[in-house]
């Protein structure tokens, strides 16, 4: 029966993450961007929230909690509201644990998952995006070819979070034209980190270019099964993160507009500003609901490709528009780095480009 009410567990989870995002994450977001660095302490604090471990079954050392995409959508929004770079950093291990949980054999699970259930943050990552215009997850240029029972990976990847620090990298590559996931250890020969990416936004998050040059991995490194649900989940996570970023920008602009006076009244009392804010609020809610619906469908085990793509594309447009409008509401103040909105605009612009950068 149609309902818009998170259940009790979801509410608790969301509130915990929200409080972390507001009190711990947001205050250091600007510094992380300027210094291009995220302090270990915040990563460890996030780790202790159990976001990664909770979804791992007890037999593999985790808490055995649910893996609901709806719950993830709620969590992602709050983390995105805090800071996108930090959100992507602390969620990065999921880029390994989730595909392994969904697609991995018992052996792979046993091998990989316990590493991500310890007391301290362990980095994991995925290499999906490629440095090409019109990058397409269904037509990867990185190839996986069989060679004497092993796989050999070749090609270039970009925007790989945490790169050299990751214990495992899930590399997506085309095997006979079909996208497959491969589990690659960080010390595998032929897997080379080229350099840290210098990009416009999410500057706190360390992302890297990777080169796969005759990178040999055993056949057992392949994760069996369909990667589509993985991508769909990532789209939902990104859409929800975008909602969080947009909400942050909206609230900041709203509060500024109520505070700032022009022509004798708060600028929020001017229709041009007030209507802009109203449209922002509507589009944020609209996107959240699209993401929820896609997540709900995914949770039912149905093909959520249509819903998650629509939600993600909608979110990418929405977050750009909302963050751009937030800068506009602040006027000159929006353009200087004393205020957060320019950072959110830079981060917001990324969503149209990001694919597979988050799983939650």
């Amino acid at each position: 029966m149609i309902s818009f009410e998170p259940n009790e567990d979801q509410r608790m989870m969301r509130d915990t993450v929200a409080s972390f995002a507001i009190n711990q994450v947001r205050p250091i977001a600007r510094d992380a961007d300027e210094s291009c660095q995220i302090p270990d302490s915040i990563v460890q604090q996030a780790w202790e929230l159990g976001l990664i471990q909770s979804a791992i079954p007890e037999e593999h050392g985790g808490y055995g909690g649910d893996r609901s995409a709806v719950t993830s959508a709620l969590v992602c929004e709050e983390l995105g509201y805090g800071d996108l770079s930090i959100a992507l950093h602390v969620l990065a291990p999921r880029l390994v644990t989730y595909p392994v949980l969904e697609l991995g054999s018992d052996e792979q699970k046993n091998e990989v998952l316990p590493a991500y259930c310890g007391d301290s943050f362990v980095a994991g990552t995925a290499a999906l995006m490629e440095p090409a215009m019109g990058f397409d997850v269904n037509q990867l240029s990185v190839t996986a070819s069989r060679q004497n029972g092993d796989y050999v990976l070749d090609g270039a990847k970009c925007y790989v979070p945490l790169g050299p620090d990751a214990r495992h990298t899930v590399v997506y590559a085309a095997e006979d034209g079909e996208t497959k996931a491969f589990l690659v250890g960080s010390d595998t020969p032929g897997l080379a980190v080229v350099e840290r990416e210098k990009i416009m936004g999410i500057k706190g998050l360390a992302t890297y270019e990777l080169k796969l040059d005759n990178c040999k991995i055993p056949a057992s490194a392949r994760l069996e099964g369909d990667v589509k649900p993985i991508f769909n989940r990532s789209r939902i996570a990104l859409a929800s993160l975008a909602v969080g970023v947009a909400r942050a920008a909206f609230e900041y602009a709203r509060d500024y507009a109520k505070d700032r006076h022009a022509f004798g009244v708060p600028i929020a009392q001017k229709q041009a500003i007030a209507f802009m804010l109203a449209e922002m609020a509507i589009e944020i809610d609209a996107t959240r609901l699209l993401a929820w619906e896609a997540a709900w469908k995914l949770d039912r085990g149905e093909d959520a490709t249509r819903e998650s793509c629509l939600a993600k594309n909608y979110a990418a447009d929405m977050v750009l528009k909302v963050t751009d409008n937030a800068v506009q509401v602040l006027g000159g103040h929006g353009y200087i780095r004393d205020h957060m909105v320019e950072l959110w605009l830079r981060n917001g612009r990324g969503f149209a480009t990001f694919e597979g950068l988050a799983l939650a």
Binding site: F4, N7, L277, T287, N313
Partner: protein, 413 residues
């Protein structure tokens, strides 16, 4: 639990109405667009027979009794159900939907603000006899969205109120007053100097002397719906035809404010109607694209899509976003939650989305889209009303803005 699955009951209702929409409404859709001001009598009779006594579209806030009553712990779906029903009917034809004999906004006002006696006197008639309509008359030539500017007057004269003024854009006004034994709820001021507080709602019954429908408007779309101009010239109505407290004083939940509150219920209904029209267009385009062998690759990167593909996906996403916002506003009402913000959000989004969706659909179909051979161009014309009535796009944005900014109508207007 967050859930987007309709209950089985609701699905059954939806499927049934969809059959009616496809089998009965669509075939006569063009006819009643071209033959403006003609009543689709068979359709009206049929729907009257099916729905009289109940309100398929009704909705409105649940009262406590209803929610907790009858021992069931199942929450009500009345308002969400109404949006589903209205979407299906409007998918069939929005003009025909609006011409169904029913208590409409006038009835909603009596339900919300009327005394038990008033409800009996005015609503019972909808349970039997010939098809009937009720309507609400707010707008006047001199004002649109600024509903506090009512110039129609009501003056007490012994046992009667005497009403004078002109009302326009009264949906189903002609049918309520002159084509059936219905009534119109007329907003009038009893004390101009008191502003909003002086405005009251009066039930004007059919056949009241001095009440004339002076014009039935020619419109861009929803031509089957009657939009009447009504002149009241010394129209005398019984004293107890006023809704709520006739005194001009402080908070009056049953009068002006009560009537305003009905918008929180009717805005999701209008949004649902908009979505029905929009879905008609999207469904049509989807079929045509399939026939033409155009595939939609949802997981193709935006930059590899065709312009057509992208347009179509945007149409789908916009429509679905509007639908979810609408369900949410209705669901809140079912839960007895205050939904003033969300009702305006969904109305604003749906009105705009559907205007754009249908306009784009016409463009996609090319020469055929622009032609009256198919219904698409009609849906575009029908759709636009949803960006206008029950509060224009602008009025709804204003309400949203007031709520998110915590401003009064005085601070932000």
């Amino acid at each position: 639990m967050i859930d987007f699955e309709m209950s089985e009951d609701m699905k059954g209702m939806r499927d049934m109405i969809n059959q009616v929409a496809e089998g009965t409404m669509r075939p006569i859709s063009r006819q009643y667009d071209e033959e403006e001001h003609t009543d689709p009598v068979d359709w009206q009779k049929m729907m009257w027979d099916v729905s009289k006594g109940t309100s398929v579209f009704g909705g409105g806030p649940q009262d406590k009794k209803e929610r907790s009553g009858n021992g069931s712990s199942k929450p009500s779906e009345r308002n969400v159900g109404a949006t589903v029903t209205i979407e299906e009917l409007s998918w069939g034809d929005a003009g025909l939907y609006l011409s169904i004999p029913n208590p409409g906004l006038g009835g909603a006002a009596v339900s919300a603000a009327g005394t038990p006696d008033q409800k009996k006197r005015f609503l019972e008639r909808f349970g039997s006899g010939e098809p009937k309509w009720a309507a609400m008359a707010i707008t006047e030539p001199g004002f649109g969205s600024d509903s506090a500017a009512v110039a129609t007057t009501a003056v007490r004269d012994g046992d009667h109120w005497v009403l004078n003024g002109t009302k326009i854009f009264c949906t189903s006004g002609h049918r309520a007053l002159e084509k059936s034994e219905g009534f119109v709820v007329v907003w009038a001021t009893v004390d101009k100097s008191a502003g909003r507080a002086g405005i009251k709602a009066f039930v004007v019954d059919h056949g009241t002397p001095g009440v004339t429908v002076t014009k039935v408007e020619d419109k861009l779309g929803i031509r089957c719906s009657d939009t009447a101009a009504i002149v009241l010239e010394d129209a005398r109505i019984p004293l107890d035809n006023v809704l709520g407290d006739p005194e001009v004083k402080g908070p009056d939940k049953k009068g002006f404010k009560g009537a305003m509150a009905t918008f929180d219920a009717t805005r999701p209904a209008v949004a649902a109607s908009a979505i029905g029209i929009g879905r008609a267009a999207v469904d049509f385009v989807r079929d045509e694209l399939a026939k033409a062998g155009v595939e939609i690759h949802y997981d193709r990167p935006v930059m590899k899509q065709s312009a057509l593909e992208r347009d179509f996906m945007e149409m789908e996403a916009n429509l679905q976003a509007a639908r979810l916002l609408t369900w949410r506003a209705a669901w809140m009402m079912d839960r007895g939650m205050q939904n003033n913000l969300e009702a305006s959000m969904c109305k604003s989004k749906a009105g705009l989305a559907v205007t754009q969706v249908t306009q784009k659909a016409v463009e996609i179909l090319g020469p055929l889209g622009y032609s009256r051979k198919i219904l698409l161009e009609k849906w575009m014309r029908d759709a636009k009303i949803n960006d206008i009535f029950e509060g224009t796009q602008q009025i709804n944005l204003l309400i949203v803005a007031r709520r998110i900014l915590d401003y009064s109508s005085k601070e932000l207007n």
